[in-house]
């Protein structure tokens, strides 16, 4: 205990230290509470009301500066429940045309968490202009209510719904995660509106009003020193050609499928059509919006909300022969003069896969122009079974790897959300299906003509033809030229992606063949254009869902190609019957600004395959 007695005076030091601090605090308190008048003055004008000012969302323009999306004003009726004492309740009900029960229900919702009687919440969303006008006259009698101005999206032309996407109320979870948003705010949900939300949305502003104890606004806090102005969203300059997009959508009326066009020299998407589409103006506004959305969502026959251009995975069919031809030439297995026999089918396997009558064995260019199935069965097996590789598994993997450099099998990484990767089946997959050692190159020979499990989304098809047009490379397809006035573009869209085939003669031969497809003896001869050299390839994709899909892809003109385009029309039969006319019309429209084949155009515009196919299905069901 000797230590304790030595340390005895420390209790005084500690106690004294405690008292000293408290004395300092009391002095400070005396100063701010009694002496300094500043805080009392502050308190008198300290009742703030924060008012959010919503920024104008950025406009979207097409590649030529034509307007695609703009904003129209819209008005939300807001309420602060605890301030509604003495409000003309019946008046509010009359103006909004709601019952008293509905009024009470909404008021209750505004009081409960996460809302609060002291905070503003939305009472009526996006009032019509008429309601707003009627309301404004009487607003002074509706205590606790005020109008919040926002904007809604509008579209001068009812086109490009899938590409542009739509804006909607933010989900609860997302609003909690991101501090920028609060519940009830709007956010881009799909398409460009989603991809470029950060750019388009701008920045919310806040105005701080001072209110007195009775909650009347008496001025602005610090003369608006701490107010922030809303900063308008930046404009987007889209790569889409509005006229081409509109024309494409017209052509796709009554058809299921997609058209995707790309400018090969830049990777810019010129049009992205998915049929059937819908009028984007349907998905704006309050009540109307949800009604329309439900209607579109449950249209299981047409599935108009389904973006076929990016997410529908189709078997490519004969267009895939182009890639086979490139790979085989690059590997030195065939050349321009290589001829393979065709006996209405692939002879080594008893005429399967089947072929059509095109007059005997063809050379390379002829086989593309005439789309010979037998030829590409040979070519595919040559590639897979080539001596360079110890076994066909390695050969197959080689084929698959090269194919994948063209895009299929992976998401292209475009700036549009939700694109699908397509499918190039793996060795593991076939081992599972046929058993290990249970398959050979002949088992999967139909891959060579773009059938079997092989699938691509239309965007990938367009990318393949753009790559051929560029003779060996592509830019990642993207849909904006730039953001804001200085039109900034992400660097990743300026990178050339070289594919694994770089043999320029190979490209020359394939392109000759594609040109041949639109010349006498070619599969798309009837769709040739007088003054533009179009290089194309037809495809007729067998599928488990009904009649064959008609596929056509092309680029034009042959030298310095300006447009690479792919079109698929579901259950339409031969590529040349439906897809090739659409593609060539689009090329005319884009390169010349007009079309000169009225009878073809008329047939395309009036063709209603959906109704026809539905009727057929109905008959089928009857027969069953």
């Amino acid at each position: 205990m000797s230590t304790n007695s030595q340390l005895g005076n420390r209790k005084l030091i500690i106690g004294g230290f405690f008292c000293l601090i408290i004395v300092i605090y009391l002095c400070r308190l005396f100063y701010i509470q009694v002496i300094d008048p500043q805080y009392k003055l502050d308190a008198e004008k300290n009742a703030f009301r924060y008012m959010t000012e919503y920024p104008v969302r950025g406009y979207i323009y097409d590649r030529k500066g034509k307007l695609l999306v703009f904003n129209a004003p819209s008005y939300d009726l807001m309420v602060i429940p605890r301030e509604t004492k003495g409000c003309d309740t019946i008046g509010v009900c009359e103006v909004l045309q709601i019952t008293k029960q509905e009024y009470l229900k909404r008021m209750k919702k505004a009081c409960q968490a996460p809302n609060s009687p002291r905070k503003e919440s939305i009472f009526e969303k996006q009032m019509s202009a008429k309601t707003y006008a009627a309301l404004q006259e009487k607003l002074y009698r509706f205590k606790g209510f005020f109008v919040q101005k926002r904007t809604v999206r509008r579209y001068p032309k009812p086109i490009a719904a899938h590409l542009l996407g739509y804006v909607g109320e933010i989900g609860k979870e997302q609003a909690e995660k991101d501090p920028y948003y609060k519940e009830g705010d709007y956010i881009g949900i799909t398409g460009l509106e989603r991809s470029y939300e950060d750019v388009l949305r701008g920045k919310k502003g806040t105005q701080i009003a001072i209110t007195d104890v009775h909650n009347k606004i008496i001025g602005r806090y610090m003369d608006g020193k701490y107010d922030t102005l809303a900063i308008a969203g930046k404009a987007l300059y889209c790569t889409i050609d509005r006229d081409l997009q509109e024309y494409g959508e017209k052509l796709m009326q009554g058809k299921k499928g997609a058209i995707v066009a790309i400018e090969p020299s830049t990777g810019e998407i010129l049009c992205l059509v998915s049929g059937p589409s819908y009028d984007p103006n349907l998905l704006v506004g309050g009540k109307e919006r949800s009604k329309n959305f439900t209607k579109l969502y449950y249209d299981s026959l047409n599935r108009p909300l389904f973006n076929r251009a990016l997410t529908a995975m189709y078997p490519p069919g004969s267009i895939f022969k182009l890639i086979d031809a490139l790979i085989a030439q690059n590997d030195g297995l065939i050349n321009r003069n290589t001829v393979y026999p065709c006996q209405m089918g692939y002879p080594p396997m008893g005429g399967k896969p089947k072929c059509h009558a095109h007059g005997g064995g063809k050379n390379l260019t002829g086989s593309i122009a005439a789309s010979c199935n037998s030829y590409y069965s040979y070519v595919f097996r040559e590639i897979v079974d080539q001596r360079k590789y110890p076994n066909f598994i390695d050969g197959y993997n080689h084929w698959r790897d090269v194919v994948k450099t063209f895009g299929p099998g992976t998401r292209l990484g475009t700036d549009l959300p939700y694109d699908k990767p397509g499918n190039v089946p793996s060795v593991e997959y076939y081992n599972k299906v046929f058993g290990k050692n249970g398959w050979r190159s002949n088992t999967i020979v139909s891959l060579g003509i773009g059938q079997a499990e092989l699938t691509l989304v239309p965007l990938q098809m367009a990318n393949v033809v753009a790559t051929i047009a560029n003779r060996g490379y592509y830019f990642t397809p993207h849909s904006i030229k730039g953001v804001g006035i200085d039109r900034k573009l992400d660097k990743r869209f300026k990178v050339k992606h070289y594919v694994a085939v770089q043999d320029q003669t190979a490209y020359l031969n394939v392109i000759d063949g594609m040109q041949g497809a639109l010349e006498p003896g070619g599969t798309a001869f009837t769709n040739r254009l007088k003054d533009i050299v179009v290089c194309g390839k037809t495809g007729t994709a067998q599928n488990p869902h009904g009649d064959d899909h008609a596929v056509f892809l092309a680029f034009a003109p042959r030298e310095n190609p300006k447009i690479a385009i792919a079109c698929i029309v579901e259950n339409a039969g031969f590529g040349n019957t439906w897809s090739a006319p659409i593609v060539t019309l689009m090329i005319e429209k884009y390169l010349k600004g007009k079309t000169e084949r009225p009878e073809v155009e008329k047939r395309m515009l009036e063709g209603d395959l959906i109704t026809k196919n539905n009727k057929k299905d109905a008959i089928k069901i009857k027969h069953h």
């Binding site: 340390l7 605090y25 400070r28 502050d42 002291r118």
Partner: protein
């Protein structure tokens, strides 16, 4: 009531008890005022915080009675046990607890939650008391800075520090609860009372001052001047002996080290912590609407109270929610606004009185254990008082810790009750045994 030796109130210090009850009641009245609105006036409405606080107070009463019922030996015998148990809970909460606003310190039970870190305070107090009350453990009273001495002479001090530092680091680093963790620093006062040289405290204090100066003075020349002043004063202070010249140089180098690392440390703080330091020191541009908002609003609320206040439930600043966290960490704003300087002084004096009373009681103990624990209680309570009120009047950075017995919240009220009542129980036995 306490005449009968079998009564649980036998030997209980009634003064402490009365002050405790007064503080809890005043706390509740102010929580009611802070949350008050016209729509909910029923005090038993448990959807409102004042209704819930009544439940917490009831629970606190039960806890207090239970503590008084248990034999005092229980607390001494299981001092390490408590420490080990709550340390384990604090680790467990990292895995089983729910993350709330980046903090991993809560066990949730439906809408209620418990922070084991709150209970670490009394457990640390007990364990420290147990350790230091051992006859063989003596805290070295000398002040030496050489590493050799550190190992040889300060083994016990370092051990005692470990009791404090382990929960501190655990809570600050892993649970991400700066406010809860920083309280453990208060136990240094206990070490001081038990013999820690004042030299270390001054050393620590100087480092802190240097840190603050380095933050305020940003120009290089300013820093150089500061360093020169430090070197000169150190030299003047111990110029007598040549041997001490070495020390001056060491101090100077150490001080330079502090100054040079200041920016590094500052840059590695969390953003909100940086902002709080900036607000306190008036660094850079403080936007009163954003980062400076809390403190400015707190000052306005308190300042507008004037000498006698606006009257109960008449405060406009707190009533209209201008002050954030006004029922928990910023409860003192309600006091300041509605009861004025007079009321604030009463509350602060009551808190201070309770703390000094605990020191007084601690000093009359025959058992070292009780005394040391008592100092732990007083230090923790004072730390909360000083930091909590300091931040509302702009003398301390904003650190989220409650005002003892006053702020809303079950965990804090219960943990303060346990902390205090274990001491009251120990004190009630002071005449019976020598521990």
């Amino acid at each position: 009531m306490a005449r009968n030796e079998n009564s649980i109130f036998y030997g209980v210090d009634r003064v402490t008890l009365v002050v405790y009850v007064l503080l809890v009641i005043m706390g509740w009245l102010n929580i009611y005022a802070a949350v008050y609105n016209e729509e909910h006036q029923n005090i038993f409405d448990t959807t409102q915080k004042y209704g819930k606080q009544l439940i917490w107070i009831g629970g606190a009463a039960v806890i207090a009675f239970t503590i008084l019922l248990i034999d005092a030996n229980f607390y001494t015998a299981f001092a390490y046990g408590f420490y080990g148990f709550f340390l384990a809970m604090n680790i467990l909460v990292l895995f089983l607890g729910k993350e709330i606003k980046g903090s991993h310190s809560w066990f949730r039970f439906g809408s209620a939650g418990i922070q084991p870190a709150e209970f670490m305070k009394f457990a640390t107090g007990l364990a420290l008391a147990k350790f230091l009350s051992n006859q063989n453990i003596i805290i070295n009273q000398q002040f030496r800075l050489r590493l050799k001495d550190l190992i040889k002479n300060y083994k016990n001090t370092v051990f005692a520090l470990l009791f404090i530092v382990v929960p501190l680091i655990l809570i600050i680093k892993l649970q991400n609860e700066t406010g809860l963790a920083i309280v453990f620093i208060a136990f240094i006062i206990v070490l001081y009372r038990e013999g820690l040289s004042v030299g270390f405290l001054i050393f620590g204090l100087l480092t802190a001052i240097l840190f603050v100066v380095a933050l305020i003075v940003t120009s290089i020349s300013g820093l150089l001047i500061t360093m020169a002043v430090i070197a000169a004063s150190a030299f003047l202070f111990i110029r007598r002996s040549r041997k001490n010249l070495m020390l001056v140089i060491i101090v100077f180098i150490a001080a330079s080290g502090v100054v040079l690392t200041t920016n590094y440390v500052y840059n590695h703080l969390e953003d909100h912590q940086k902002v709080r330091i900036d607000v306190l020191l008036g660094r850079g541009t403080v936007d009163l609407k954003k980062e400076g908002y809390n403190v400015n609003q707190a000052k306005i609320a308190i300042g507008s109270g004037g000498f006698i206040g606006k009257g109960y439930l008449q405060g406009t600043q707190t009533k209209y929610d201008f002050v954030p966290e006004q029922d928990t960490d910023f409860i003192f704003c309600t006091v300041g606004e509605e009861w004025g300087f007079v009321g604030s002084t009463v509350v602060i004096f009551l808190e201070l009185f309770l703390i000094l009373r605990v020191i007084f009681l601690a000093e009359r103990q025959r058992s070292d254990f009780s005394r040391i624990y008592g100092y732990g209680v007083a230090s923790v309570l004072f730390f909360h008082l000083a930091v909590n009120i300091g931040m509302t009047i702009g003398l301390m950075p904003v650190i989220g810790i409650p005002l003892p017995f006053f702020s809303y919240g079950g965990s804090s009220l219960w943990s303060f009750t346990i902390l205090l009542f274990i001491f009251i129980k120990l004190d009630s036995n002071r005449l019976l045994i020598l521990r």
